[in-house]
Amino acid sequence: MPVTTSHEEPELIQLLTPEGEFKEHPDYPLDISAEEMRGLYRDLALVRRLDTEAVALQRQGELGLWASLLGQEAAQVGSGRALRPNDMAFPSYREHGVAWCRGVAPKDLLALFRGVTNGGWNPDDHGFHLYTIVIGTQALHATGYAMGIQRDGALGEDGSAVIVYFGDGATSQGDTNEAFVYAAVNNAPVVFFCQNNQWAISEPLERQSRVPLYRRAEGFGFPGVRVDGNDVLACLAVTRAALHNAREGQGPSLIEAFTYRMGAHTTSDDPTRYRMSAELEEWKAKDPLLRLHTFLTRNGLADEAFFAAVEEEAGRLGERIRTECRALPDPAPLDIFHEVYAEPHHHIDRQRAEFADYLASFEGADAEGGR
């Protein structure tokens, strides 16, 4: 069946070309020091290492699963570094780069994928909510949280804003669109950050939308913008502006970070079944690390020693991750009943006690050599 697709090329906010050239954008002036730029490079490199390490750990059976962010480092680090401590981020399940920026320990991320917890960290300690697996649900949580900020009167320069991450596929979910409605009518201080990595598992973007995703926002009454998701500087600048506007009471906005999932959907996935390797090659040329590396080098903002130091730090990080991952303790059987409810619950208490008895019966039985 013929599908009309809009062929008009949308504007892509870009500050750093794939070739590593910087070009100013009138709407997004970037106030950033050389040190901060090197910091961004370090983030990108370390996050990539974290990811590579986790993929390897999964291959070795240390993790049940891993969702690689390979290729999306700039979108995540750029937006993650745009956040202030007071801000709150609601991730999906692939935001390891944002987690990094929010100070979540890598081992706490790994814990989830290892299967020792369904959570892993204290969201309030990091301004970074738990990973959310059911697609789209967190868009509403973020919007509600932003409505809470409004009610706290916590807007303005020292106030807070919310950012919520989701994928291109997630834009099809009812919940995501309801979040657009709630955010718009409440003028909630929330930034919708869509990482359009072109794929939802095996489905290309065309199965979710026939027009660029950033345009969705307009129909709900707030601005949408498309940014080069492989350009960490553009992601930083655009997200900063959106968060600023949110804090200043200008309400929600949608950022579509145009990027590419260079790896498999997760370690369980086999992308050779549904996409061409040529596509991957094309995107390799747009690698988010490469272009910042080139830019820093060309402009004398970082030297070989810097890159070597980052490389070395990445090595240490990798080692730490491997060690810490293997050391993650398995939960105890009775943890199943842990914190199901916040207040006392006689039924759960009883089930826990019964199960404890049951487990104890084995210890006895084992001693007697019984079954």
Binding site: T117, N118, G119, N122, P123, D124, H129, L130, T132, V134, T137, A139, L140, H141, A142, T143, G144, Y145, A146, M147, G148, I149, Q150, R151, D152, G174, D175, E178, A179, V181, Y182, V185, H338, E339, V340, Y341, A342, E343, H345, H346, H347, I348
Partner: protein
């Protein structure tokens, strides 16, 4: 000091008191603001607490629960009204996969003190989707507490207890009993009220235990009154998850017989759980199998048939008779 209140008004007063006591309490839902809800349960709150605390939401139930979760994460205590039982279903995903599980997911770090108020059950002559009794879905979902009320006293106190509870609580309101009136002593303190989790012996008896909840309690009491052959003990369950089996089982151990009545379809309804569990606990005390009286395993019929669908006094008495005829 007592006041005469309907169940609807008692909930309204309970909400008002909770909002006065704690500025973090919010009321949200469709038409809960200026209109005061289609059943007027939030009447006057918008006027007195303003649009920031009494929120007319967009017409999207997933959005109501989803944003309530976010508000709870920010420290608020949202009380969400789902306009009718049949319109809960768009919010199932947020309720079952997020609201119910987030506390556990966070290892106890996050608290989700969200109340879902759901007017439920039939008997008001409504069109489709306005007469459902979906409580079993919730009772099968770990992480939720589920309660319902049968009189103004409980309505007034339990809605406040639900709001004060740090777990998500589904608060079922027996819509056809909204207009039932009784005295409520509103001057007592919340802690002095009967705990939300406890069942109540609504009428003592010796021969058979009749468990009911929500709108069926009144029917059960009428049936007990009408039964001149047996002394029927009526238990108002109040908490549907968890269930206060101590109260139920100690009654059954005395009477040896149990009838459970609810409006929801019998198959896989709450009566099944109660029958299974009580039989486990009271096997040698039971003189007859637990009899379940409930709605049929069909969609709720058009209103001209609902008097036949809903278990009435005769159907409940038939159930009682069956436990004796066994």
């Amino acid at each position: 000091m007592t006041t005469k209140l309907t169940i609807g008004k008692a909930i309204n007063e309970g909400l008002r008191r909770a909002m006065e006591d704690d500025p973090k309490v919010l009321v949200m839902g469709e038409d809960v603001g200026r209109l005061g809800g289609v059943f007027r349960v939030t009447d006057g709150l918008h006027k007195d607490f303003g649009a920031d605390r009494v929120i007319d939401t967009p017409l999207a139930e997933s959005g109501i629960i989803g944003t309530a979760i976010g508000l709870a994460l920010r420290g608020y205590r949202p009380v969400c009204e789902i306009q009718f039982d049949g319109f809960f279903f768009p919010a199932t995903n947020q309720t079952f996969t997020q609201l119910a599980k987030m506390h556990q997911r966070s290892g106890g770090r996050l608290r989700l003190p969200v109340v879902l108020r759901i007017p439920y059950g039939g008997g008001i002559g409504a069109v489709e989707h306005h007469s459902e009794s979906p409580e079993a879905y919730f009772a099968h979902t770990a992480g939720l507490r589920v309660v319902t009320v049968a009189n103004p006293e409980d309505a007034y106190w339990m809605v406040q207890q639900a709001i004060a509870c740090d777990d998500p609580v589904v608060f079922f309101e027996p819509k056809r009993r909204y207009w039932d009136k009784a005295d409520v002593d509103t001057t007592r303190s919340l802690t002095s009220a009967a705990p939300m989790g406890a069942a109540r012996i609504a009428r003592p008896g010796q021969d058979v235990t009749l468990v009911a909840y929500g709108p069926m309690v009144k029917t059960a009491l009428q049936a007990a009154e009408a039964d001149t052959d047996h002394s029927v003990e009526v238990i108002d369950l109040r908490s549907l998850s968890p269930i206060d089996y101590d109260t139920v089982c100690s009654s059954v151990r005395r009477t040896g017989r149990l009838v459970v009545a609810h409006e929801a379809p019998v198959s896989s309804g709450l009566g099944a759980e109660i029958a299974a569990r009580v039989t486990e606990e009271c096997f040698y005390h039971l003189e007859a199998p637990v009899v379940r009286v409930g709605g049929f395993d069909t969609p709720y019929p058009p209103s001209r048939l609902e008097e036949h669908y809903l278990p009435d006094l005769d159907r409940v008495l038939d159930g009682v008779d069956r436990t004796f005829a066994f």
